[in-house]
Point group: C2
Chain length 211, copies 2
Amino acid sequence: MKSFKIPEATIMRLSVYSRYLNRLLKQGLTTISSSEIAQNTGATSAQVRKDLAYFGEFGTRGVGYDVGSLYDSIAGILGLNKDWDVVIVGAGKLGLALSMYEGFRERGFRNRAIFDVDPIKVGKKVQGVKILHSDTIIEVCSELKPDIGIIAVPGEEAQKIADQLIAAGVRSILNFAPRVVSVPYDVQIRNVDLSVHLEILTYNMAMGDKG
Amino acid sequence: MKSFKIPEATIMRLSVYSRYLNRLLKQGLTTISSSEIAQNTGATSAQVRKDLAYFGEFGTRGVGYDVGSLYDSIAGILGLNKDWDVVIVGAGKLGLALSMYEGFRERGFRNRAIFDVDPIKVGKKVQGVKILHSDTIIEVCSELKPDIGIIAVPGEEAQKIADQLIAAGVRSILNFAPRVVSVPYDVQIRNVDLSVHLEILTYNMAMGDKG
DNA sequence: CCTTGTGAAGCTGTTCACAGCC
DNA sequence: GGCTGTGAACAGCTTCACAAGG
């Protein structure tokens, strides 16, 4: 572990590598090369090796990497060797989709509560998790102490919800609302705007028409 | 328009700026400065100006930018001055969430078809759009000629679906399945892995514990 | 002989600081 | 005076190419 300032792009790729390795593991494969990892994750082999080099030496020269131990190492780096408690705010289509997303559960994210303002939704259960009223966010989260809060409400509400999560002690927030939310220095936020990706596609298509 | 190689990060930010400007427009605001745009979109003022400078001069020195015309300019750059036809493959929670996502419709993305393999879902309608069987992707898309295909199926199916969309002539694909899909050089794909963002959060939390 | 690990080089994007202009 | 537009300096990430080592 050499550590210090590791590029965020590296962390994103490690996350992707780990999913690929997990797949290989299920297939019973034992050894893999950096170039094969690269090929299957949209990276280059040098990139794979550099990314791993930030954290240590995991391979054997002339041979490659042991799938199982590399997977464990990366999962450890990403903090996936423990479970994380998550709450989701917003039981609209997106909030529900996220709360049922297999990809999350599989990787140790446990959905501990869902919040919504709609009285028709409040009280219902989603996969064993009760939907609570958003007015209770501070109260419930102060008690639950979730590691991560996911925001899936309309843009107008996003900042208010973030403030409430923070007031309740949540220190990591993933915001899916199409608005940039700001937080104090000691809280980390990731704004994930789904439209952005569509608009990169349309930008490129519009450019293609011109030149 | 100076054009040529524009950073993807710039396009992502333009997309965010445009949403902010749209909001200001609805509020009736007429003038805005680069630093105010920056503040509300998580960028810096120099970055805002540089991003815009790739495409021309849109502001007035000493004054700022006209909200309406800047919005129009950016929308034009992003290709949002026309509507785009979209098909969604996968009518699971995520596919349905995407098909109903207001943020998409608002910005001119028209959902023309939804596909799924589940016979119970096939034939039902989602906001006026019929769910069709995935076996008909090539046939239907060859006819519809959608601009964009969105993949929201389990990882195992993603590559197969992408291949079918491409066979039907789709040239832009947004993949939400947690697997990297590869495409020929003349097709653009964006792999949007929702777990990645959660895992950047956990990485930072795990690091924080150590140092 | 093969594949990893890594300094060095190259490239791309960001920040700075100020000239240009209203 | 104030804010944009921009060349130049800087920082950060990626690629290269090869030494290291099984």
